[in-house]
């Protein structure tokens, strides 16, 4: 079993995805436990992957025993092991919250949701594990198509949002594929390790420049990076609650990982200003996303624009590309996944009890103190109050920006935190001090939601206090191979 650890997480979610519809024919109630078991096992396997990497270093796994560059290669290294834990772990916690009680609000039949969610997770985990550019595309599309369906399953305005998501997502994927095609034409290989060796010889070639640009733009669009974030706000605002608990947390992170992997470890465009562009787009995203989030009265849209801002932090770190900034960006992948999941789950739970997603209708903190408290923890992390997780990603990003002598980006990070304070304050104030809407049910969130939420809140605090170990043992080694 240990030998198969690199592919195990995605095999587990894929198997789950295939089993859920079959089992659901016999018992619809079995869908949730089964989906949970599949993604939980995937999360454990991903954790096992981290243990494996810490003990034995990077593992390369030729799928089916076919050696690369002919066969497909799966790579388990510090970065992919870390990101797989983030996606599978946070994915599992958000699937927990779609259990009994919460799922009843989900009108399109739950087994379909669980199957699609597991397929999406398979796609994300595949993007992370894959050792060649083409399979990244394959898994990207697997994840994307299931995501379109998940968002669209909300019906009504979600359908329009999903259509927009389809169009823009396809543009992003096509850009990426086009770029990969350029590189293949140039080098005749798709294997990442192979490409990394061959590309330096072609550094000035127009095909290389075009490939790098297409890939960067395509993946930046997928990760919702300003100004390519157009699909994101609507998709995450109108997605049904269980989908909103899952996709905003992990989908953009998988794309950010793919961008980091291809740009920093394969293309390494030292001659091109691509990384600088990324850093500045990140800085702009931090501010613009936060300013847009300030103006929202719909809690879900507020959180969606906050994602635009927070993805800016990750892009900024990737663009600066020095080891400290990269550690910060990778750590923010973890922190943002957890806090955004917690906040969307919290808002979903409040909406379930209250009268809609408007800030004015969320004043249920006193009736739902556990939900409200967990949201405060996530909000503190978003603002970056120590010692909660989000503070430390900003700590490393700030250090990295100073190392790179970019005072403007330092200021962008700090101002972004203050703007986050304002928009998170609006949400928190609405929850705790708003008037509870008349006729709203006065009861805590369903137990399944509470388990997931409390686990996320605890994990957010633990990730802050324990960040030093994560950074020193996983993220610094992960950053070492970049550029």
């Amino acid at each position: 079993m240990r030998g198969h650890l690199p592919v195990l997480p995605l095999l587990l979610t894929l198997t789950g995805a295939l089993l859920v519809p079959i089992v659901a024919v016999i018992s619809r109630r079995a869908a949730w436990p089964l989906a949970l078991a599949a993604s939980g096992a995937a999360a454990l396997a991903a954790l096992g992957g981290v243990v494996e990497v810490l003990a034995h270093g990077t593992r390369r796994y030729p799928v089916g025993g076919w050696a690369p560059p002919w066969g497909i290669e799966v790579v388990l290294d510090p970065l992919s092991a870390f990101t797989a834990v983030v996606v599978a772990g946070v994915g599992t916690l958000s699937l927990i919250t779609s259990g009994p009680g919460a799922a009843s609000a989900y009108r399109r039949g739950t087994p379909g949701f669980y199957a699609l969610a597991l397929i999406a997770l398979t796609g994300f985990l595949g993007m992370i594990a894959s050792g060649d550019l083409f399979n990244v595309f394959v898994f990207l599309e697997i994840a994307a198509i299931s995501s379109y369906a998940l968002v669209g399953s909300g019906g009504g305005p979600a359908l329009a949002a999903a259509f927009r998501y389809v169009v823009l997502g396809t543009v992003g994927a096509s850009f990426y594929l086009l770029g990969v095609g350029f590189l293949y034409t140039l080098t005749g290989t798709l294997n990442m390790a192979d490409l990394a060796q061959r590309l330096p010889a072609h550094a000035g070639s127009p095909l290389f420049v075009g490939g790098a640009l297409f890939i960067t733009v395509g993946l930046a669009l997928k990760m919702g990076l300003f100004p390519l974030h157009g699909w994101l706000p609507d998709a995450y605002t109108y997605a049904p609650a269980p989908v909103a608990a899952l996709l905003p947390a992990v989908a953009t992170k998988a794309a950010a990982y793919a961008l980091a992997r291809t740009l920093l470890y394969v293309l390494r465009p030292t001659e091109l200003p691509v990384t600088a562009m990324l850093a500045w787009a990140g800085g702009a995203a931090i501010i613009v996303g936060a300013v847009l989030a300030l103006r929202q009265d719909d809690a879900r849209r507020l959180l969606a624009y906050s994602s635009v801002s927070q993805m800016g932090y990750i892009a900024l770190g990737l663009g600066l590309a020095n080891p400290t900034a990269l550690a910060g960006a990778y750590l923010h992948i973890l922190n943002h996944a957890m806090m955004k999941a917690a906040l969307f789950i919290g808002v979903g739970a409040l909406v379930l009890r209250g009268r809609g997603p408007g800030l004015a209708a969320l004043g249920l903190g006193r009736e739902m103190p556990v939900t409200g408290t967990c949201m405060v923890v996530a909000a503190l992390s978003m603002v970056g109050v120590p010692p909660v997780g989000g503070f430390f990603s900003k700590w490393y990003l700030l250090q990295g920006a100073l190392e790179a002598r970019q005072p403007v980006l330092v200021i962008a990070i700090l101002v972004g935190s203050l703007l986050a304070l304002v928009y998170m304050y609006r949400l928190t104030e609405a929850v705790w001090f708003g008037e509870s809407p008349p006729g709203a049910a006065r009861a805590e969130a369903p137990w399944a939601v509470l388990i997931g939420l409390v686990a996320l809140a605890v994990a957010i605090i633990a990730a802050g206090l324990g960040n030093s170990a994560i950074v020193a043992r996983l993220l610094v080694p992960a950053a070492a191979g970049a550029l």
Binding site: V385, P386, F392, W395, L398, L414, S417, L421, N467
Partner: protein, 492 residues
């Protein structure tokens, strides 16, 4: 010499544990308040237990884990840290007793949240007092900002919510500036530990860089220290219940800012670097302006708590001024003023609270003759006010005297003039209140506040006097202040 010990780690623990216990016993007020009192007492004992080693030169250090790969979490019981921790925790004991009487007499809402936030604030205060490096300090500093927020908005009115927003906007902006300063220091010096005499001397950074860094630090700590023009949040925050204004807005929160500034001046930059830059003098100017303008603003107030708040704004800058003059006597006097102002201002707030418990009055102009009905309270008020102005033999006389001596030593005539002028202004805004309270027609049907409210304020008033007569008796505060000053100013 550093000695590994778990004691600095244990010191904030009672308050931290108490937060949970208080939340759990929300249905049993008596037990809930017992937890608060127990935590305050045990915290005080633990902090006092560290005084001998701090004075003896063996600094206890607890370093459990890393906050970041190259920055550990350090709690370090050096003289200055122990000094501030002693002041805040011993006053927390009295404030807890006072709080119990106060919230019950006024039947305040959300008492569990109140006591829990209080305990969390004191956890953060002792943590930042003992913090051994800037990142540890920053963590507790920000925690204190958040922990004190529910106390500002405690009343739950729109006005309180507005005050809370102002409070957060100011303190979090300061926090962001401080974070920038901390990261920058890390980049320049490659280390973040507090070292008497500073860590930036060997960084080789240009004067412009150091100026900008110092300005960021002053902005970062200056909000909590309410240096003008960053003070606006403090009078607004007076909407909080009086015990909160007493302990947090006269001792813990604002002094955390002042404490941070002294740390920055003495332990991050060091007097030498600041002297070469001329930045110390600039901060001294700011402090002197704040001392005078704060007192002048206090003259114009009718609301008693706002008056006390502006008086706090003014008094806090004494500490800053002392740290920037570069004379050991002034430095020690400034540090000691943290304690003397704390004891006396808390007395004044306790009196204001006692008055509002009994009469629900808050305006100075409505307090005519109140001294005839509440003689003990108003005598304590008068004594504390006069002692705060600097009349001997009060606590503030000792600290101000040292400040004056230090200013004279360093030939800072302007600082001396400011200190003397401010004393006159103090008398000018306190004496009318006292005169009115004892001369006007006595209001009907008023008596002294309940014992839980009355006793603490009498105790702090006596403590203010005793601290003036025997400044080295309670916890060796004077020695701690002097050791701090010597370590900073005679550092190699």
């Amino acid at each position: 010499m550093d000695v590994p010990s778990i004691l600095p780690g244990l010191a904030p623990l009672p308050a931290g544990v108490a937060v949970g216990l208080i939340a759990l016993s929300r249905r049993r007020p008596a037990i809930r308040e017992m937890w608060s009192l127990l935590a305050a007492l045990s915290q005080t004992v633990l902090v006092l237990a560290m005084v001998p080693s701090a004075l003896g030169g063996a600094t206890l250090v607890w370093q459990p884990f890393s906050l970041a790969p190259d920055v550990p979490l350090v709690l370090r019981a050096d003289p200055f840290g122990v000094f501030f921790a002693t002041v805040s925790s011993s006053l927390w004991v009295l404030t807890t007793i006072y709080s119990i009487g106060y919230v019950r007499a006024l039947a305040e809402r959300a008492q569990t949240r109140y006591f829990a936030s209080f305990a969390l604030s004191l956890f953060a205060t002792v943590g930042l007092a003992l913090a051994g490096n800037l990142l540890t300090f920053f963590c507790f500093f920000e925690l204190l900002t958040v922990a004190a927020y529910p106390l500002v908005i405690h009343k739950g009115t729109d006005e309180a919510a507005r005050a809370g927003r102002v409070y957060l906007a100011y303190t979090m902006t300061g926090g962001a500036a401080l974070l920038g300063a901390v990261v920058w220091t890390h980049a320049l010096a490659g280390r973040l530990d507090f070292q008497p005499g500073g860590i930036l001397g060997a960084s080789g950074a240009s004067a412009g860089t150091l100026w900008a860094l110092f300005a960021l630090f002053v902005l970062g700590c200056g909000v909590k220290a309410s240096i003008m023009p960053l003070h606006t949040w403090l009078p607004v925050a007076m909407i909080a219940p009086t015990p909160v204004s007493a302990l947090l807005h006269a001792v813990a929160v604002v002094k955390a800012g002042v404490f941070g500034l002294v740390r920055v001046v003495g332990f991050v930059f060091g007097p030498e670097v600041l002297g070469d830059l001329g930045a110390g003098a600039a901060l001294a100017w700011l402090a002197m302006a704040t001392i005078l303008l704060g007192s002048l603003a206090a003259l114009a107030q009718d609301n008693l708590k706002r008056l006390l708040a502006f008086s706090t704004v003014s008094q806090l800058s004494y500490v800053v001024l002392g740290a920037t003059l570069g004379a050991p006597d002034a430095f020690a006097g400034g540090v000691l003023h943290i304690a003397s102002h704390a004891v006396l201002k808390i007395t004044l707030f306790f009196c204001a609270g006692a008055i509002s418990v009994v009469t629900h009055l808050e305006q100075v102009s409505e307090l005519g003759g109140i001294g005839r009905r509440m003689p003990l309270t108003m005598t304590a008020f008068a004594a504390a006010a006069l002692m705060l102005a600097g009349l001997p033999p009060g606590a503030a006389f000792v600290s101000k005297w040292r400040l004056l001596v230090g200013a004279a030593e360093s030939a800072a005539w302007l600082a001396m003039t400011t200190l003397l002028l401010s004393t006159i202004l103090n008398i000018a805004y306190f004496v009318p209140i006292i005169v009115r309270a004892f001369t006007g027609p006595a209001p009907a049907a008023i008596e002294e506040a309940p014992p839980a409210v009355l006793v603490p304020l009498l105790v702090t008033a006596c403590a203010g006097l005793l601290l003036g007569l025997f400044p080295d008796a309670a916890g060796h505060l004077l020695s701690l202040a002097q050791t701090t000053a010597t370590s900073v100013l005679s550092a190699p």
